[in-house]
Symmetry: C2
Subunit: 242 residues, 2 copies
């Protein structure tokens, strides 16, 4: 199976959650957004595919994954599609619904991170909503960030062992996604994270452990891995990191 990932070039964004699973599994995939426009890739190709031409099923937003005749959009949906195929989720139904539920909590978490710098609208510049962003970030850092982190700490503690995992007794795609969220938060809110990480040692340890997985570690130091930047979800605006 040749997988094709459709995501905007230039930012890790939501596409990165899919890349992490594909890279960790060591499968081949074509990252359409990163191919130059001359060669049929780039933002133009992503945008065209979004409208669903060939199969008559328009999608709302990237990322989208094409796998043969099936096209799947939304991060959690793509990961539950890939999970069994990449051996990144347990076999039983109860664990798969549990994994998908955790991934959807991460989806909400990521969306709230995005809205710290865009509380009024994605179509406006950050500079045009700085005041509201400061206020929303205050509530985020004070209430929401600890709430989400403590939640995942509780999940890890409940699923205890020497090396706890979010689901079952091996790493799943949800662990890879939590790694990405923690890494993004360390970039965007370094002061808040430095204060909070000691309260969630299992979460911090999981993120560090995931980053050392063989193929993933190689990917993270390769030039395929995109740096966080101020065009993405996780942005470092020091004035929001209170």
């Amino acid at each position: 199976m040749q997988y094709e990932l459709y995501y905007w070039p230039g930012i890790p964004g939501r596409g990165e959650f899919i890349r992490l699973a594909l890279e960790d599994a060591g499968v081949e995939y074509v990252d359409i957004g990163k191919i130059s426009g001359n060669k049929g890739g780039g933002a133009g190709a992503v945008s065209e595919f979004l409208h669903g031409g060939e199969i008559g099923r328009p999608h709302f937003a990237p990322p989208m994954l094409k796998a043969g005749d099936i096209v799947v959009s939304h991060v959690a949906n793509i990961l539950q599609f890939l999970g069994p195929r990449l051996n990144l989720v347990p076999d039983d139904d109860a664990s798969r619904y549990w994994a998908n539920g955790l991934q959807l909590t991460l989806t909400d978490f990521v969306s709230e991170v995005h809205d710290t710098h865009h509380p009024i609208g994605s179509s406006l510049y950050y500079e045009d909503q700085r005041e509201e962003a400061a206020r929303r970030s205050g509530v985020f850092v004070q209430e929401r960030l600890p709430k989400f982190l403590h939640y995942f700490e509780r999940v890890l503690s409940t699923n205890a062992g020497n090396e706890p995992f979010l689901v079952g007794d091996r790493h799943s795609y949800v662990d890879l996604s939590l790694f990405q969220v923690v890494t993004g938060l360390r970039y965007a809110f370094p002061r808040a994270m430095q204060r909070l990480e000691p309260e969630v040692p299992e979460v911090a340890a999981l993120a560090d452990r995931v980053s050392q997985r063989g193929r993933l570690a190689a990917y993270l130091t390769s030039d395929r891995r995109l740096d966080f930047n101020e065009g993405g979800i996780f942005r470092h605006y020091p004035e929001l990191d209170t």
Copy 2:
């Protein structure tokens, strides 16, 4: 199978998307939040179940559905679990991933509706974020609301027929959810919807057709159906309906 729904009492909220599927299918379920506290229900029972005691899997937020040994949380996750069991989604994999993707777009839509009145934080009163709410609602009504509605119109038009459906050639749980969103929007933003509905006739027609399905029509006029109110997702604040 005896289903148990765990959701906060007093508001339709996200729990209503689950009720619509169960009611449309005519299956029995226990709505724990609506049972009195004396009898082991109510908000206390929902809150206790949230923490996942008996199975050691804490959930982040209601709704949760218990079906035998499986507990599922997040609306889209619950609906994809119920879909095949209630005969509310086609059989083939491609259609199921497509249905789940559409449902996740509705999840995002609903979350943006919520944030029109709570752009700074859910823990603050509306009255403490009115100014920001007015600004965010302006962008929502001007840009996001038409974008989402036109998207679903395009999906319906692409999947054409005399009576189009979002997925396949029969009503699915996604149609029931779109009905709920349109109904909520008519309550919360009556002026904006009156202006926009003529631009999205298939969406409006779908919502009306769903409301006339036998068991669903009976449910909607029963006292089990909760009215929209200013404690929920869809709130009517005339000053936000520009």
